[in-house]
Structures are given as C-alpha cells and as structure tokens.
C-alpha cells in the first residue's frame, strides 16, 4: 500500500514535469513570445527589452526551461494582466479556488445523491417507468450543453420564479466574516447561519447545472453495475439465506456495484473544471472557471499557466485518490 502510494506520487511528479515542458513550449510559441504574454501587447519596447533579459530569453533553451521550472516551483508566475491586473497570478488562483471547490462539491453531491439511488431503483425495476424516465433524463443530461442548461435554470428559477439568486456567491446585503474563503464553511464556523444559508442558495442552481452530466454518468454506471451484480451467484446465495431486502441491497448489491461508480466519479471530478468555465460564466460565479474564461479572452497568460497546472494536478491527484480508495474498499486489491 505504501509502495503503491509512493509510486503514484512519482507518477504525479512525472506528469507535472511533462506538463510544465508543454507549457513552457506553448508560452514560447505564442505570438510575441512570453514577453508579450506577460506584459500584454501594448507594452513599450524598453520594458520588453528589460523583461527579455530579466527572464533570460537571450539564453539557451535548456537554461530557460530550468529557470522556468524554478519560477513554477516558487509559485512565481508573474502578475495577472487581465483577470485582476496587478495581483499575482497565484493570488488570483488562491482567491478563487474555494469558490470552485464549493461549486464542485455541490455538483458532485447533486450527482451522487440522485444518481446512485435512482440508478439502483431503475435497475431493480428494470423496464419500469422510473427506469425509462431515468434513462431518457440521463441521455438528455449528457446531450444538453451545460451553458444552455445553466441559462434555462437561471431563467426559470431565478428570473421568472425568483426562488433562488441568479448570480454571485453571496448577496451584497450580507456582511459575512471571512475565515477560510469557503463561504458555507465560514458561516458555520462563525455561527453566521444566514451567511451560510445564503451561500448555499447561491450554490444550488450552478451545482445542478454543473452536476447534471456527472449525475447522468453516475446514474447510468450505477444502473448497469447493479444490473450486473444482481445476477451474480452470491446474490442468489443471499436470497437463499432469506436475508432481508435491506441487507441484500446494502451489503450485497451496493457494496459490489459501487466499485465502478467510484472510478467514474473520479473521472467526473477531472471533467468538472471544463463545465465550471461555462457554469460560472452564466451565473457570474467568481471561481476558477470564470477566471479561466476571462484569462483566455484577455490573454492573461500568467493566470492561464497557474490554472492549467492546477487543473492538471487536481486531475492526477483525484485519480490517485480514487485508485487508493479502490484499494481500500476492494479486499481483492488490498490483500494481494
């Protein structure tokens, strides 16, 4: 188990090295090169020359890459040029990270809380109305573009019905104390319940919009996995023992059927950032996804670098956690 963890960590380092190389080459291939990338198009020739020598762009490629790695390791990506001009790129990341994590957790909760039970019920009553409705919904869920769904939810539940706030993370009239930057958590820590609740309300619609694809995927995997498991011989053994439906469901069907669900959930976490770009834009939700779209349009390369490295790291880390948790929940892997 320890050796396994170490091996996965080494893999992570390798992935990051390769990624940084790609990033480095990408920056050099930009029109105008990294100087334009960091200073923007409208910089004076003097400043450009200065930065060129500061960055060592007149030096050999390998040396440049070495320096680039050194800066990355120190979290020194330069200053944001578009998202929050003047702030450090890494600071922009730190500001917005909690927002996106909250949104991702909301989306995953939505996907898991509805996907697993509905997937289970659909499989157990295969061909019933719930099964058919679920299969159609999950097909729609994957097919409907995220931004369209986000607009639709916002239009119906925020604009027309006014049940939920249309944008942002917190209502302006709430004066909340900031502790961790995770708004829901902050409210709980400081006992400012209304601030927490307000943050939750801001999360609901974006979470549904972002969580719909993971929901659809988890629903379908759970359904097909339960369909497989319920035909296994050991389920027949459990029935032959006269066990209650409840025991058969939780101990015998779900414990086996959820193994693939864990894997798929991990993959979905990786895919969330892509969806977050669109969702956060529609709901003006100040997270990493929104930063990414601003950074792209405003050519804020320092921020882009941080975001790309961070999302890749998250992806690899999450998959590593999934593999490890797989080993924890599946004794066949753990004990061999």
């Amino acid at each position: 188990m320890l050796r396994y963890t170490v091996r996965r960590l080494l893999q992570l380092v390798l992935v990051l090295v390769v990624l940084s190389l790609l990033l480095f080459l990408w920056l050099r291939s930009l029109p105008g090169g990294p100087v334009t990338a960091m200073l923007g198009d409208r910089s004076t020739p003097d400043k450009r020359a200065e930065l060129t020598s500061v960055l060592g762009l007149d030096q050999p490629l390998m040396v440049q890459y070495g320096k680039f790695l050194g800066r990355v390791a120190h979290g020194n990506f330069g200053q944001s040029t578009g998202v929050a001009p003047g702030d450090s790129a890494i600071g922009v990341f730190a500001d917005r990270f909690p927002a996106t994590v909250e949104l991702a957790i909301g989306a995953l909760l939505f996907a898991l809380v509805f996907g697993i039970p509905l997937g289970y019920l659909a499989a157990r009553r295969r061909g019933g109305w719930l099964d058919n409705a679920g299969v159609v919904t999950s097909l729609l869920g994957v097919a409907v573009p995220v931004f369209f769904l986000a607009f639709l939810l916002k239009y119906i539940f925020a604009v027309k019905l006014g049940w939920l706030p249309p944008s942002g993370r917190q209502s302006p009239d709430i004066d909340a104390t900031r502790v961790t930057g995770f708004f829901v958590l902050d409210g709980l820590l400081t006992r400012e319940w209304d601030a927490s609740w307000d943050a939750v309300k801001h999360l609901i619609l974006p979470s549904i919009a972002l969580g719909t694809i993971p929901f659809a995927v988890i629903f379908r995997i759970t359904r097909s996995s339960v369909l497989d498991v319920q035909n296994e011989d050991f389920i027949r053994t459990a029935e032959a023992k006269g066990l209650t439906n409840r025991t058969i469901r939780s101990r015998h069907i779900l414990r086996n059927a959820l193994l693939p669900v864990v894997t798929v959930t991990g993959l979905q976490v990786g895919a969330l950032l892509a969806g977050a770009v669109l969702t956060e834009k529609v709901f003006a939700f100040p997270g990493l996804g929104e930063a990414l779209s601003i950074a792209f349009t405003k050519k804020d390369y320092p921020v882009l670098q941080v975001l790309i490295l961070a999302s890749a790291t998250t992806f690899v880390l999450v998959n590593m956690l999934v593999d490890l948790s797989y080993a924890v929940i599946d004794p066949r892997i753990r004990t061999s």
């Binding site: 050991f234 053994t237 032959a240 006269g242 004990t335």
Partner: protein, 392 residues
C-alpha cells in the same frame, strides 16, 4: 461423465444405508413436491417447460437424489422449491408442501422467513456464490442475525464455531478473510456452514462438488454426509454423477427433459435399472475392471434431440429400445412391477433384468468398482481438512 467424478465417490457401503439416516418414512414427508411445473416465457420465444410435472417426496432426515444430464431441469426444480426463480418470466405451478404448508402459496415475506431457517441451499460454484467484498464471518453470521435475532458480535463468534465444525482450520482468522483467500474446498465448506447455520430441516445441494478437485470432492461429500446425519437434516442431492448417488442417497429420482423417468430406492436402482436412460447413464460410467481397449458407451445424441412429452416419450430419438408406441403414447410414471411398488418407471419397453446382468451393470458394485479409490479418499477426508490448499 468423467472418470474423475466417479473416483470421488466416498465410502460406498456405509453412510446412507446406516440406521437412522434414512429417516422414518412412516412419519409423513417433510417435503412433498406435487406436479411441479416451471415454464419460462420470454417475449418472442415459445414458452418452455423446463420442469414438466415433477413429483417426489422427501422424508425427514432422508437423502434424495435428483439425477440427470445437463439441462434436464435439476437446478430449476430446486430453485422453484426455494422460490428463487425470477418472477416475471417464469410461471411455477403445482404444490411444494413443506411440513404441510404449500411454499408456493406463501407471501414473499413469509418465504423469506423460511429460507435459510427451515430450508437452505448450496450451489455449484463456491467462488461465485460468495460475496467477494464481504468477510466470511459476516456472511456466515448474517444468517444467524437474520433468523435467530443474534447480535453482530455473538453471530461472529458463532460463525467461527460453525466454520470450525465444517473443518476450516483457524476459524478465528478465517472469519476476517475474503472468498478469494480460500481454496475451492474451503469456500464450499464455508457455504455449507452458512446453509446449516440455523439447522434447517432440509438442505438442497445443487452439484456441490462439480467445480472442485477430485480429492476435495470426496472430502466435501463425506462432510455433507456426516453433517446431515448428525443434524438429522434431510438432503436433496442434485448431481449428474451416479457415483455420488451411490455414496449418498437413500432414494433416487432420475430426471429427463423435465420429468421423472425412474424412481427407486438406491439399491433397487443399481440392481435393477429398468429405464433405458438410467441404463445408459450406468453404461457410460468408466469402469476400472473393464478390459483394456473396451469403450465406454455414452448415450447417443444429446438433450437437444428431445421430442416434446406430449408427442410420446421425450427420450425416443436417443433410445435404443424404442418401439412404435413410444412416439404415439406418452408413457406414465407407474410402478415397475407389483412386487416392488416403490420402483416407479416411465417407459413402454423397459430394459429386462437379464440384459442388465449380462452386461455386468447390476448392483452398486459396478459403480463401486468404478470408484474404488473412494475408500482411500474417504479416509483422507476424515483426517485434517485440506489445509494445504488453504491459501491461494
């Protein structure tokens, strides 16, 4: 049928004949299956009667064999008794009286209360029959929690005892282990422990040794035999192996195409097999005393060559004794001859005894010779269990 399977026959002449184990037939049957039909109906396919009017009784403590080739309906019969067949595509009719109650008329909840407590079952493939991600102790203990209302910790302690009783060494450690950590024989022992945990009055064993190594087969059979006779449990032994029947069963039902074609007490069946199909099964057992080069005579054709019972005798296309009547009239299951009312037969032209004798097939000795290693194996089986194969 292979040589290996008959070699697994444990001690042939002890066991079922011994007093006490054959049960008291006068006391009325424990289980009475009457005119059981199981029909599979799937959309686009002709409805298919996998079990087509099977009747038999099991007395308390008695061991009854269901024998026949693959596909003759042995498993479906047993699953129907346990009410473990999927509801929507199968139709089960007839009666399955267990201690006077028709199991088929019970509600699902009432049946659930009885399964594992009054009647239990073990299956062919011990690996796939165990949950791979639940520790063995929990899988044994959950039966006790369910039917005896035991607490989890007490059930686990009892589970260790039960594993010990079925010959699993170091049960305290084994209850924390998983199916993949045991050998095939150990897995089947664990399943037997689960099935017998609540001391059911009836155990159904569906080819419990088919998936196991030869030496292990003998051990499992002798374990089953001693457990059912110790507990007074009645046993329905499902097998395609006449060697197993000879070593274990008091009474034998030979099934063909969903119907019983011959039923007799064990000695009677081996001494006077009268149905051409039974005769064919016996002739296809490998014999150690056979002259070198002598061929086995398997039954020609395969189960798929059946004709429907409504058109005559289903076995006719494969039968060597077929006469004109066989495809005109469906044979009924009737007493073979008046002097032996217990020997039932479904055939228009049964095999005469002198032919059986002439071919050297009469008597369980034939099967015994086929499996003469059995005695050796049986002794091995009473020694320490297959510890060597304990972990894989």
């Amino acid at each position: 049928m292979t040589r290996t399977s008959s070699a697994a026959t444990p001690d042939l002449f002890a066991g079922p004949g011994a007093p006490g184990s054959s049960g008291s037939r006068g006391a009325g049957p424990l289980l009475s299956v009457q005119d059981l039909h199981v029909q599979f109906r799937r959309r686009g396919v002709e409805p298919f009667d996998a079990v087509d009017g099977v009747s038999f009784d099991v007395a308390p403590g008695q061991t009854v064999g269901l024998v026949g080739e693959s596909g003759c309906g042995k498993s479906v019969t047993s699953l129907a008794i346990m009410r473990l067949l999927a509801g929507r595509t199968t139709r089960v009719t007839g009666r399955v009286d267990f201690e006077g109650t028709d199991l088929l008329s019970l509600s699902r909840g009432e049946m659930r209360d009885r399964r594992g407590r009054d009647l239990a079952m073990i299956f062919q493939d011990p690996l796939s029959s165990l949950n791979p991600v639940v520790p063995l102790g929990v899988q044994v203990g959950e039966v006790l929690q369910r039917h005896r209302g035991m607490r989890r910790s007490a059930a686990l302690r009892e589970a260790a005892d039960l594993l010990d009783q079925v010959g699993i060494p170091d049960p305290g450690r084994r209850i924390k282990e998983y199916a993949h950590q045991l050998s095939g024989g150990m897995r089947q022992r664990a399943l037997i422990a689960m099935a017998l945990a609540c001391r059911p009055r009836l155990l159904i064993a569906d080819e419990p040794t088919t998936a196991l190594d030869v030496t292990i087969q003998a051990q499992i059979l002798s374990l089953l035999r001693s457990l059912v006779s110790d507990h007074g449990t009645a046993l329905i032994m499902i097998t395609h192996d006449l060697g197993v029947v000879a070593g274990l069963c008091d009474e034998v039902n030979v099934l063909y195409a969903g119907r019983v074609v011959e039923r007799a007490e064990r000695h009677e069946l081996f001494e006077r097999p009268a149905h051409p199909y039974t005769h064919g099964l016996l002739a296809s057992i490998p014999r150690l005393d056979a002259a070198a080069g002598e061929r086995l005579t398997p039954i020609r054709g395969s189960v798929s060559d059946n004709i429907p019972w409504t058109h005559g005798c289903a076995f006719a296309p494969r039968c060597e004794r077929e006469i004109d009547t066989c495809r005109q009239r469906t044979p009924e299951l009737v007493p073979h001859d008046e002097r032996r009312g217990d020997h039932l037969l479904r055939c228009h032209n049964s095999v005469p005894l002198d032919q059986v004798v002439a071919e050297g097939l009469a008597g369980p000795g034939h099967v015994a010779r086929a499996g003469h290693e059995a005695a050796v194996l049986d002794r091995a089986a009473t020694g320490p269990a297959d510890t060597a194969g304990g972990t894989r």
